[in-house]
Amino acid sequence: MTMVAVNTYTQSVTYVADNILKSLKDIIRLTGLDPSAFVGDWESSHRGISGWLESQDLEKVILEIFAPSTNTLIVRWDLDIAYGWSGDGGFYTDTEQLKYHIRKAGIAPADARYRLVLRHRPGACDIAGWSSTTLRSTDGFSRQSLGSTIEHNGLGASGSYWRKN
């Protein structure tokens, strides 16, 4: 029997959305925090990321790690989405590069908390479970780029993180 694999944009969305969530889970764990709350929202997070990837409205996936006592940022991880889908080409998730930079960014205090924020283009449709918010200030922080981190057939995400100067 001959089987033919047909790559669709939806499959690329699935691959990228799943690996964004996996990468963020790894960031939380390697930062010394418990990923339980993050995976508890897995379905809702996947619905938001894949929904706005499908409509090509998702611009950035952000993980804020902050101090609850002062409500100020400790470190912030960004995944910028690139829409270069071509239907052919490779797919990869650069787990080792990500782990290297997570360790470089350092361990967060044990009482640190985190939240996932998605930034989409103006006019994007609403998705259940998601509402507007304001990001914590990055004043006094500098951004370190990781380059392309996740890709499937040209749909991808490039990682970076913000840490205090």
Partner: protein, 156 residues
């Protein structure tokens, strides 16, 4: 030793990690609602993260019950899209009959928080290091049972 039935589910990118878990639950519960289904769906977040980690690629999700044991693996990437090796056909028995239990394979570095997270939702669904096949303990138990003599019955 009890018989073993194997199934392989297409996962990322053919379907998302949480959709993969939902499909597995659908097969195990045979589409029926109830407490078993509720308990399995209660751990969907943690199970989905393990599926996204590709933990069930080489190490099986193991379901034990009064009947045959069910071993479930997931297939990823090109094979998931082409369907090569996929077998999601319905089981000819109830894989959750009686006192069932499920063991999820888990990367060693995630084992601690995964076990704690699962325990908050279910006493039946647990995680093991994915390097542990989940068979050695049971095989030893079975072998031990094969040589066990019921002295009372024998001399009785």
């Amino acid at each position: 030793m009890s018989s073993v039935v194997a199934r392989c589910f297409a996962s990322v990118p053919a379907r998302s990690s949480d959709a993969t878990w939902t499909a597995i639950v659908e097969m195990l519960t045979r589409g029926q609602s109830g407490t078993d289904r509720d308990e399995l769906l209660a751990v969907i977040g943690t199970a989905s993260s393990l599926i996204a980690d590709q933990a069930p690629k080489d190490a099986a999700i193991i379901v034990t019950c009064e009947g045959p044991r069910t071993r479930i693996r997931c297939i990823y990437d090109e094979n998931a899209v082409s369907g090569s090796g996929v077998n999601e056909s319905a089981l000819g028995f109830d894989p959750l009959a009686g006192e069932w239990a499920m063991s999820l394979p888990c990367p060693a570095e995630d084992l601690s928080w995964v076990q704690a997270s699962l325990a908050r939702h279910s006493a039946r669904v647990t995680a093991r290091d994915l390097s542990d096949t989940g068979e050695a303990k049971n095989e030893a138990t079975t072998a031990g049972a094969a040589f066990e003599i019921d002295a009372k019955g024998f001399f009785g």
